[in-house]
C-alpha cells in the first residue's frame, strides 16, 4: 500500500514519519498532485481557518477531495481530523472538507465542582475508550486499544451522536467528546498517536492494517 503524508507546512510531519518507520511502514511526503497514493495521512497543528485556506490555495484541496470521492482511506490527525468535518468554532467562516457531518467546539472551561478543573487547551495524556459498532472482527483488536493517549488541542467534536463504525470517548472537565472514529474510508484521530508511546504506535499499525485489508 502506498502511503502519502500531506506536507502542508503547518504540521509536525517528521514525528509522524518517524512513528511509521518505527512500525516498519513505508511512507512518503506528498509534494505534488499525484493520484497514486492508496492512503493519505493528514497531520496538522495550528489554526483551522489558516490550514484550510492554505489547502485551498494549493493542489492539496483537489487531490484530497478526489481521493475521498474514490473512497480511498484518509487518516486525519489532530487538526487534520478537524479539517475532515464541516466547520470549527475556531474559524466559523471557513468550510472544512465536510467528508463527515459535524463541527468542532471549544473545550469547556472548568467549573467549581470539578475535582481538578483544567483550563483549555487540553495538553497531555487523556484516557480513550474505543467502541466497535460493527460486527467486523477485524476491528476488534483495534477497539481493544483503550488507554492513555497524548492530546494537544483546544477544540473537540462534542456533539456527535452518530454511531460511527468505530467510535470512542474521552472527557475534558467532565464533558464527553469524540477523540477517535472510523467511518468508511475516514479515520479521525484528535490525539497524537505518534507521541503516545507504545499505545499510539500499536494503534497506528492497527488502523493501517485495517485499511490495508479493506483496500
Amino acid at each position: 500500500m502506498k502511503i502519502g503524508i500531506i506536507n502542508a507546512g503547518f504540521s509536525n510531519i517528521t514525528s509522524v514519519q518517524n512513528a511509521l518507520n518505527e512500525i516498519d511502514i513505508d511512507s512518503e511526503l506528498i509534494n505534488s498532485n499525484n493520484p497514486s497514493y492508496d492512503l493519505i495521512i493528514m497531520p496538522g497543528i495550528g489554526n483551522f481557518g489558516y490550514a484550510m485556506e492554505s489547502m485551498r490555495n494549493s493542489f492539496l484541496f483537489e487531490m484530497i477531495s478526489s481521493h475521498n470521492k474514490n473512497q480511498k482511506p484518509i487518516i486525519g490527525i489532530c487538526l487534520g481530523m478537524q479539517l475532515l468535518f464541516e466547520s470549527s468554532e475556531e474559524s466559523p467562516s471557513t468550510e472544512g472538507f465536510g467528508f463527515l457531518n459535524g463541527y468542532f467546539e471549544k473545550l469547556p472551561i472548568p467549573n467549581k465542582e470539578n475535582f481538578i478543573g483544567r483550563k483549555p487547551p487540553n495538553i497531555g495524556y487523556n484516557h480513550v475508550n474505543f467502541q466497535n459498532n460493527t460486527d467486523l472482527k477485524s476491528l476488534n483488536d483495534l477497539c481493544n486499544s483503550n488507554g492513555y493517549y497524548y492530546f494537544l488541542h483546544s477544540y473537540a467534536l462534542k456533539n456527535s451522536e452518530r454511531p460511527y463504525q468505530v467510535s470512542s470517548s474521552s472527557t475534558f472537565n467532565g464533558e464527553k467528546f469524540t477523540p477517535f472514529l472510523i467511518q468508511d474510508n475516514i479515520c479521525g484521530i484528535q490525539f497524537h498517536p505518534e507521541r503516545s508511546g507504545n499505545n499510539g504506535l500499536n494503534l497506528l499499525s492497527q488502523i493501517i492494517n485495517y485499511f490495508e485489508e479493506k483496500v
Binding site: 509536525n12 518505527e22 475535582f115 487547551p121 495538553i123 488507554g147 483546544s154 507521541r195 507504545n198
Partner: protein
C-alpha cells in the same frame, strides 16, 4: 469527579556540550551520559515526557539542541519539551522543526516577558512552557537565571503571575536549593506555586525515591521531573509506575 489526567513523570536531561550532565544546586556539573541513549532508556522505562535543556546556551547565546533532538525523536515517541537559550521566535522555530512539541523559556523571558506572548501567539500557548528556577534567598523565593547563576528582581509569585499573563501554557518550577540533593521536595515553595498557578505546573528538585513521588502525588502535585534519581539508577520509572498504579495512583503504563 475523578481525576482526568494521569500523574506524569518527566525525565529531565540537562545538556552541556553534547553530554547529559547533572550537578548539585545547578553547580559542579558532572557528565552522566549520552542524551540520545538516555532519552531512549527513559522512554522505554515509561517516562511520560522528555525535558531537554541546554544548560549553557543562554551564557554563550547559541542553540545546539536541534541536532540532538532530531536524533532523539527518531526513536522516542512521547512529547519532547526543549529549552535553554531561546531568545527569539527563530530559535524556537528551530527547536519545533527539529521535533520538539513544546519549548521552554527562561533567561530571555525574564529580560523581556513579551517573548512569551510572541511565542504563544505564534505557536499557541499549549506549546510554550515558562521555566522558573527559584531559590530561597534571605527567606524569600527569588527567581534566578542563567542556570541558577544570576539573581533577578522577581519574587516567585510576581513572576508566576507575569508569565501567565503573557500566555505561558505550562510552568516548570525547579528548586535550585533542592536540585540534585536527593533530600525531598520544597513544600513551602510548592504552597506558593499551588496558590498562584492557574495553568498546569511541573515540579523538579530533590525527588529521591518512590515515597517522595507518592507524597507529591497525594498533595496533587501531579507533574514531576526526575533527573539525578534516574541518571544514578535510584528510580526506574517502570517499577515506580507499577508500584504507584497498584496503590491506586493514576499513571500511564504501556498496557493501561
Amino acid at each position: 469527579m475523578l481525576q482526568e489526567v494521569p500523574n506524569r513523570i518527566i525525565a529531565r536531561l540537562d545538556i552541556k556540550n553534547d553530554h547529559v550532565v547533572k550537578g548539585l544546586m545547578m553547580e559542579g556539573v558532572q557528565r552522566v551520559g549520552n542524551p540520545i541513549e538516555l532519552a531512549q532508556r527513559y522512554y522505554h522505562q515509561g517516562a511520560d515526557e522528555i525535558l531537554i535543556l541546554d544548560t549553557v546556551a543562554s551564557l554563550y547565546q547559541r542553540i545546539e539542541l536541534p541536532e540532538i533532538i532530531s536524533e532523539i525523536v527518531k526513536k522516542t515517541f512521547i512529547p519532547i519539551c526543549a529549552g535553554g537559550g531561546i531568545a527569539s521566535t527563530e530559535d524556537a522555530e528551530k527547536l519545533f522543526y527539529s521535533g520538539a512539541d513544546k519549548i521552554c523559556l527562561n533567561t530571555a523571558a525574564v529580560h523581556d516577558p513579551t517573548l512569551i506572548s510572541d511565542l504563544a501567539n505564534k505557536f499557541g500557548s499549549q506549546s510554550v512552557v515558562a521555566q522558573i528556577d527559584v531559590k530561597n534567598y534571605h527567606n524569600e523565593y527569588i527567581i534566578f537565571v542563567n542556570s541558577g547563576r544570576d539573581i533577578t528582581k522577581y519574587k516567585l509569585d510576581e513572576w508566576i503571575k507575569c508569565v501567565q499573563d503573557h500566555g505561558a501554557g505550562e510552568i516548570l518550577i525547579t528548586s535550585i536549593d533542592r536540585d540534585g540533593m536527593a533530600r525531598g521536595a520544597d513544600y513551602e515553595l510548592l504552597n506558593i506555586v499551588k496558590e498562584h498557578c492557574n495553568v498546569p505546573f511541573i515540579y523538579g528538585g530533590g525527588i529521591q525515591d518512590n515515597n517522595e513521588i507518592k507524597k507529591l502525588f497525594e498533595e496533587e502535585i501531579i507533574n514531576l521531573t526526575l533527573a539525578s534519581s534516574l541518571h544514578y539508577n535510584d528510580i526506574d520509572i517502570s517499577k515506580t509506575k507499577e508500584i504507584l498504579s497498584s496503590q491506586g495512583f493514576l499513571v500511564r503504563t504501556n498496557n493501561l
